[in-house]
């Protein structure tokens, strides 16, 4: 047998795929990670797709700007917890089981949703997406490229040991430094962070970045679970993947890989113990299976209820729906370096050709919002003055004439079953473009993994000219969508524009948050006008929730059982 410690490689997830947030994001979609299109998650996912893969969530909602000093006022904890004495069991069914229990060795929503109950970060987000403190009692910028987290006292790991600043620094380094532990697939989630060290004589940790790193607090609010240094160092990668020892409100009871995870309330939790005494995670990739489990009382929360099953849940007397706009955007990328997509007029024409509102109503049963820019409402940099493109076939045809590419024949590549109704959305787009008198459009259904492989190899020329994909962005910040997808050097880019590049690089180097936001807004307006994508829908996360449980869906695709309580 090979030495299980020699796992630096095996531990990387395929999500490399998704790469900078990307993939992850990308993954979300259907629950089924990759299987039947009815799922949306992840695969991964569950909400992310299934996919297996799930996508990365982003929290939505409020501004996520980080304060440059100290505590956000009122940045309390998320509500939750309770008496912590009663017996209350809750079961959650996702599209995919977690692929590992190592919180730093995955990039999927379904895995995240399990490990977030046992592990916590220094910061977190409340249900609206606002940054709150978790294991840090204070966070501040010390100097350019250096921020400081003060660490909460009285926190214990599930094995009874106290949390120390050394554990925090080690956890951050395990992600960002390849020589600490292993090469974590989450390194780009803490983009710009180079390392962490304990502050001498204080219960605090300094985090270093190259440059100002405007999104450092936003990143830590979404990512980076804290683990115990000695616990990690004493164990092989394989053991870490199958056990948990965090500071969170639930501790691991039993783990049947690929089948179920059972957690129980951690009575010595540093805040109020949870209302839930036992928490079980199951997986069922078929959405109808999840819905049937919910209606039969076999589960309490079913992720990614597709539009066609929504009515069954609504009309049942044992469960209801909880729907919320997610942080995932669905779009059609058009490669700027090939004809006819090299023409801005042609790209605008494609946007005018599509009846987005009709797709949302007829294909998605209203469970979606239209978009007209790469950034979603509620994110830093979202431009409220930019409207989605209206459908205007005549204008589309005249723009095609103007572009000089009348008679163009194009093919849209779409994954199958990765995102909610992906093929159906693609078919609608294709038929609407094809109905223009001077463009003909076909469709090519692709296996997601091979399509993602072409997009994530860092070479723009290996990808298709025109493709549908989804992107989740957990940081609440425009830059984490635009940089990887639309700047010249982006990991999955389909576009290059000097003006956009300079707006973004200026935004990323300024320390004035207001100026940064206005530069990003300008970038979004430019994207709308230049139309590097056909802007499609913002996906919703739709959950079926048993009437036994009091819980509302979050925008970031995370399911936080600590916030759940019994209705009885």
């Amino acid at each position: 047998m090979t030495d299980p410690d020699d796992r630096s490689t095996s531990r990387r997830r395929f999500l490399a795929l998704a790469g900078s947030a990307a993939a992850t994001t990308a993954l979300a979609g259907c629950s089924g990670g990759g299987n039947g299109g009815d799922n949306g998650s992840g695969g991964g996912n569950a909400s992310g797709g299934a996919d297996t893969a799930g996508g990365q969530p982003t929290s939505g909602g409020t501004e996520g700007s980080d304060s440059t000093a100290g505590n956000e006022s009122g940045g309390g904890n998320e509500s939750g917890g309770g008496s912590g004495t009663g017996e209350f069991s809750v079961t959650i069914t996702q599209g995919q089981p977690p692929s590992t229990l190592d919180p730093q060795n995955h990039r999927e929503t379904p895995t995240d949703n399990v490990v977030l109950h046992a592990y916590e970060g220094v910061l977190a987000r409340d249900a609206e997406g606002k940054i709150i403190q978790k294991l840090a009692t204070n966070y501040e910028r010390v100097e350019e490229g250096r921020v400081r987290f003060t660490i909460q006292e009285g926190v214990t790991f599930h094995n009874g040991d106290d949390l120390t600043p050394e554990d925090v620094a080690f956890s951050i380094n395990r992600i960002v430094q390849e020589d600490v532990g292993f090469a974590s697939p989450q390194a780009d989630q803490l983009a710009g962070v180079t390392g962490a060290e304990v502050v001498d004589g204080e219960r605090a940790v300094d985090v270093m970045s190259d440059g100002f790193n405007p999104i450092v607090f936003a990143s830590f609010a979404t990512y980076c679970d804290i683990m115990q240094q000695s616990w990690v160092e004493e164990r092989s990668g394989e053991e870490i993947a199958q056990n948990m020892n965090g500071t969170g409100p639930f501790q691991l009871d039993t783990y049947e890989q690929g089948v179920r995870v059972v957690l129980s309330r951690y009575e010595d939790y540093w805040r109020e113990p949870a209302d839930i005494s036992q928490l079980t995670f199951n997986a069922a990739e078929e959405s109808s299976t999840r819905v049937n489990q919910l209606l039969e009382g076999e589960t309490d929360v079913a992720v990614n209820v597709p539009p066609q099953d929504a009515q069954r849940v609504r009309s049942s007397n044992s469960a209801g729906l909880s729907a919320v706009p997610s942080t995932r955007i669905i779009y059609n990328a058009m490669r700027y370096d090939v004809e006819p997509f090299s023409s801005p007029q042609f790209r605008q024409a494609m946007n005018y050709a599509v009846n987005l509102q009709g797709i949302i109503e007829n294909v998605l049963s209203g469970f979606a919002d239209p978009t007209g820019q790469p950034t979603l409402e509620g994110f830093v940099g979202y431009n409220g003055n930019v409207e989605p493109y209206p459908q205007d076939q005549e204008r589309a045809e005249s723009l095609v004439e103007e572009s000089g590419f009348a008679g163009a024949e194009i093919t849209l590549h779409t994954p199958v079953g990765r995102y909610l109704k992906d093929v159906e959305i693609a078919q609608a787009v294709v038929s609407q473009i094809d109905s223009l008198s001077n463009v003909s459009c076909g469709i090519s259904q692709r296996e997601f993994t091979s399509l993602a492989g072409e997009l994530t190899d860092g070479d723009i020329t290996t990808g298709p000219n025109f493709y549908l994909i989804g992107w989740g962005n957990a940081t609440f910040d425009a830059s984490q969508t635009i940089i990887p997808l639309l700047t010249s050097d982006g990991a999955l880019t389909s576009y290059s524009n000097d003006e956009l590049d300079s707006l973004i690089s200026e935004a990323q180097s300024t320390s004035d948050q207001e100026r940064r936001a206005s530069l990003l807004k300008e970038a979004n307006a430019l994207c709308r006008e230049q139309a590097p994508w056909i802007f499609l829908n913002r996906q919703y996360s739709v959950y079926g929730v048993s009437n036994r449980v009091e819980w509302s869906a979050r925008r970031d695709e995370r399911i936080n059982a600590y916030a759940m309580s019994s209705t009885s």
Binding site: S8, R12, F14, G237, E238, G258, N282, S288, T289, Q293
Partner: protein, 329 residues
């Protein structure tokens, strides 16, 4: 050739086939588009890191070295480590095996219990209502898609009437039996049975229809043969003629098909597993393929292939004992 020699020859052939399966499965990685490193390395990995990963995974060595290495590890039961979870592929695959075998065997039992009597009745009541009923059932069974049948069974029997759980497998067969012996409680077995009933019916229906038709035509063939007429002329009761002589000879080809089908069920239950969230090998393979998790894909396919070969060997052995002539062919 004696039966013993015949089986030895078959066993050697089986080993050869498994080696062939291993080789083909190993080579799959090299003919499938997409470099595994793309899926294993972080997206923004430098070339140096990619090379390092390739070296750690041993992917930068000549193919023949990797192949010999893979074979040697396999002989020690090491199928490598999952790219995705980092756990030993063999552990994960063998953890899934009981669920898959239970489902395949349960579906086979459902099929055999239903189909042989149906086929016999159909043959002995040719062109009567019972025959039309049985052949009609076969036609419907063969034409019904698995996923639809599964979903319908759940909607009607679980959701509407609450007779069965909708999905999942809360307890395995062996733990359930263990519970019976240690605690004297039938609860485990009852739970197991409740959960496996619908998936077994779903998976077994097509198979039932197939064997019903096979039994019917085999039985009709046999009943038309001269030895049957001789038996009847001797005054043997009709029940003995039918069920001792004709049926016995009919069952020989049926057993072959059942055996071959069992192999198919081990690898082919993907859709049923998905509908019932049944934690078997089928779902494992699909997820591994979606993630390009090569060690898991290779290991699962080898286990499924070996399962096929072993089942075929057992069928041969049974066949040889039922009909000693086969060994001489």
């Amino acid at each position: 050739m004696t039966t013993g020699r015949f089986l030895l020859k078959r066993t050697l052939q089986g080993v050869f086939v498994i080696w062939g399966v291993v080789t083909v499965v190993f080579l799959l990685r090299f003919v499938t588009p997409g470099n595994p490193i793309t899926f294993v390395a972080p997206l923004d990995a430098s070339q140096a890191l990619r090379d390092q990963i390739a070296a750690e995974l041993g992917l930068n060595r000549p193919i023949y070295v990797q192949y010999v290495d893979y074979l040697l590890n396999l002989l020690q039961g090491d199928m490598g480590y999952s790219y995705i979870s980092g756990t030993a592929a063999s552990t994960r695959i063998f953890n899934r095996l009981p669920a898959t075998l239970e489902l395949a065997i349960a579906a086979t039992i459902v099929a055999v219990i239903l189909s042989i009597p149906l086929g016999v009745i159909s043959a002995t009541h040719r062109h009567q209502p019972a025959d039309y009923g049985a052949t009609g059932f076969s036609l419907v069974g063969i034409s019904t898609p698995n996923f639809w049948l599964g979903i319908m069974l759940v909607l009607v029997l679980s959701v509407q009437f609450g007779l069965f759980p909708t999905s999942r497998r809360l307890v395995g067969f062996l733990p359930a039996v263990e519970m019976l012996f240690t605690e004297g409680s039938f609860d485990g077995l009852v739970t197991w049975l409740a959960h496996i009933t619908l998936p077994a019916i779903t998976l077994g229906t097509y198979f039932t229809a197939l064997i019903t038709r096979l039994t019917r035509s085999g039985m009709l063939d046999e009943l038309g043969k001269t030895y049957i007429r001789a038996l009847r002329a001797k005054g043997l009761p009709e029940t003995l003629v039918r069920y001792k002589h004709a049926l016995r000879n009919t069952l020989i080809p049926v057993i072959t098909v059942v055996g071959l089908q069992l192999g198919t069920l081990i690898g082919g239950a993907v859709i049923t597993e998905a509908v019932f969230a049944w934690p078997g090998l089928g779902t494992l393979v699909i997820n591994a393929i979606n993630a390009r998790d090569w060690p898991m894909i290779q290991g699962s396919l080898i286990v499924i292939g070996a399962g096929f070969v072993i089942v075929n060997l057992l069928v041969d052995a049974l066949y040889a004992s039922l009909n000693p002539q086969v060994a001489n062919e």
